[in-house]
């Protein structure tokens, strides 16, 4: 018996969300009184792999024979590792790639799947009950998994990284078959941009910005804070900002530590996507804006005037701390 955690790398590096899933899986392994085995697919340096021991992995399987992502091939590798390690629970990130991967793993293992998990499972005999998001952030569901093997895909920013000094042994893992039928032609990653679903701080703006020409004010504040930028649906629909930045019910759901909403009225569809943010700041010139009902801090004022001052105040704070 074991818990298997698939650890996703970004260009050979493990990022915070990777340590989140390992920490989460370690806690489950402790609850089940069993070992944690990590699996890495792709080229990752040995010291990075050993590093996973710092979060509780006792063994790290290193499958470095596959270079590019294909959910079908990756799922075959994960399922084979799970079978080899007699995994009871398989954990992975509910990332963009993870969303294409965990369902395939679940089908291969005939496992119940909880995706979008936001908390540790409740364990009741052979049953796991997992709290997951539902209705696009407007609710949570307690999902019971009764199958022999269970798969959990953890949302980013839902579980705190926990250091847990274990010494991990790295083993090479060569799966019996994993053919890729998808050819990766190009990967474009803006290195200076913070990925929105994983961001701890988000500065988001709506039509109150009046036009794309004023977005430098949002970018300046985001840069001062080290935050990702986001926007409301009308803004992405109008083409002021790319669709990737659209946060809300039909866009991306985020759960950062801090969400600053500038010039967004707070329609129910938008609020659904941000309601699990830990702290919300709303800046709006309309004192009746619905966003103030869910915000922790509010400023009534014109974004064009408030933003430069706020950016300066953040810079001053950063300079002295």
């Amino acid at each position: 018996m074991s818990v298997l955690v698939y650890v996703e790398n970004t260009e050979g590096q493990f990022k915070k969300s990777a340590f989140e899933v390992v920490s989460y899986a370690k806690t489950i392994a402790d609850q089940l009184n069993t070992n944690l085995v990590a699996l890495s697919i792709g080229q990752v340096a040995n010291e990075q792999l050993t590093n996973l021991g710092g979060y509780g992995a006792q063994k790290v399987l290193n499958c470095n024979g596959i270079q590019t992502f294909d959910s079908q091939a990756y799922a075959a590798v994960i399922a084979e590792a799970a079978t080899k390690e007699k995994a009871e629970v398989v954990v992975m990130a509910n990332s963009f790639s993870g969303k294409g991967l965990s369902p395939r793993v679940a089908v291969k293992l005939k496992a119940g799947l909880a995706s979008g998990a936001v908390d540790l499972p409740q364990i009741n005999g052979g049953q796991l009950s997992v709290k997951k998001t539902a209705y696009s952030g407007k609710a949570f569901a307690m999902l019971a998994l009764n199958t022999q093997v269970k798969v959990i895909a953890l949302n980013p920013n839902a579980f705190q990284v926990k250091e847990n000094s274990t010494s991990a042994t790295v083993e090479s893992f060569q799966p019996s078959s994993a053919t890729s039928r998808i050819k990766v032609k190009e990967v474009v990653r803006a290195s200076d941009k913070i990925s929105l679903p994983e961001a701890e701080l988000v500065v988001s703006a709506g039509r109150g910005m009046k036009g794309p020409e004023n977005w430098h004010l949002i970018e300046d504040l985001a840069q001062a804070l080290g935050a990702a930028t986001a926007c409301s649906k009308p803004v992405s629909d109008a083409g002021w900002r790319p669709h990737e930045e659209h946060v809300g019910q039909t866009g991306i759901a985020v759960s950062p530590n801090l969400y600053i909403a500038v010039g967004i009225s707070g329609a129910i569809q938008h609020l659904a996507g941000v309601s699990s943010s830990k702290t919300i700041v709303a800046i709006n010139k309309d004192p009746e804006a619905p966003f103030f009902k869910v915000a922790d801090y509010g400023i009534v004022g014109d974004a064009m005037e408030v933003l430069p001052k706020l950016t300066e105040a953040v810079k001053a704070y950063k300079a002295q701390s």
Partner: protein, 245 residues
């Protein structure tokens, strides 16, 4: 070219979500149901690809007869025919299994879905269908071109995008950007009434997961208003009180 688009019947995005029966069931009273917005955008792309007699678009839904208005909406937008698997969905695996069983009897080049449904947000069905059919799948697709044999797709990844090439048949889950929304015209609405809608009984399969209870998010504490001239005060509170910076 034959394209299958999987559609889901979901509460309208403006719905205030409540539950009944000791929080075990979604309260559908007075709720308007719509075609899942992501599925709608997948359907729009499928219709574009088949434009000018290049192919046909079939929509499939797993649901009881209450989902038929949503199926007719898809036909009004421009799907050629529809299939309804007559069953109340039990979980994502159940839905994927039904669709895969149907797809096995046909020869679809592409199977398109939305990136996720806005009710359960599992994003599970597309990749499950692909695994059940043993074909490739690409998730969260923002661009999809297809020459009848090979497709070029752009999919979202953390902080960027990945462009991939894959031969049909495959499954793609679609997101905003893949197509423009289509508004059904009068001709579409009229013809939707007479387009074929086939009802098929569900195949027997297991249920692998079950929702035992729902919870609504804890209410947030009251907002603290800060004067627009006191942004310094806000930064201070974010540091000392909220502890987020």
């Amino acid at each position: 070219m034959k394209i299958l688009v999987c559609i889901s019947n979901v509460p309208d995005t403006t719905t205030k979500i409540t539950f009944t029966n000791d929080n075990t069931e979604f309260n559908a009273a007075g709720v308007q149901f719509i075609l899942n917005p992501y599925d709608e955008i997948a359907l729009s792309r499928a219709i574009d690809l088949c434009e000018g007699g290049k192919g046909t678009v079939t929509v499939i839904n797993v649901g009881d007869s209450s989902t038929e208005p949503t199926i007719r909406k898809a036909l009004a937008i421009g799907a050629d025919d529809a299939v309804r698997i007559n069953a109340v969905p039990q979980d994502a695996y159940f839905v994927a299994y039904q669709i895969a069983e149907y797809a096995k009897t046909q020869q679809f080049d592409l199977i398109l879905t939305g990136r996720e449904s806005i009710d359960h947000n599992g994003a599970q069905v597309p990749a499950m269908i692909a695994e059940l059919l043993d074909i490739p799948s690409v998730s969260i697709v923002k661009k999809l071109d297809f020459d009848g044999k090979t497709a070029t797709l752009s999919r979202e990844i953390e902080g960027g995008k990945e462009v991939v090439e894959v031969d049909a048949p495959f499954v793609a889950s679609c997101a905003e950007g893949v197509a423009e929304w289509k508004i059904p015209n009068m001709r579409g609405i009229m013809s939707a009434r007479t387009k074929p809608l086939q009802v098929i009984e569900a195949a027997a399969t297991e249920q692998l997961s079950k929702i035992n209870q729902y919870q609504t998010p804890a209410p947030r504490s009251a907002v603290k208003m800060i004067d627009a001239d006191d942004v310094k005060g806000l930064v201070g509170l974010l540091h000392s009180e909220a502890k987020v910076i």
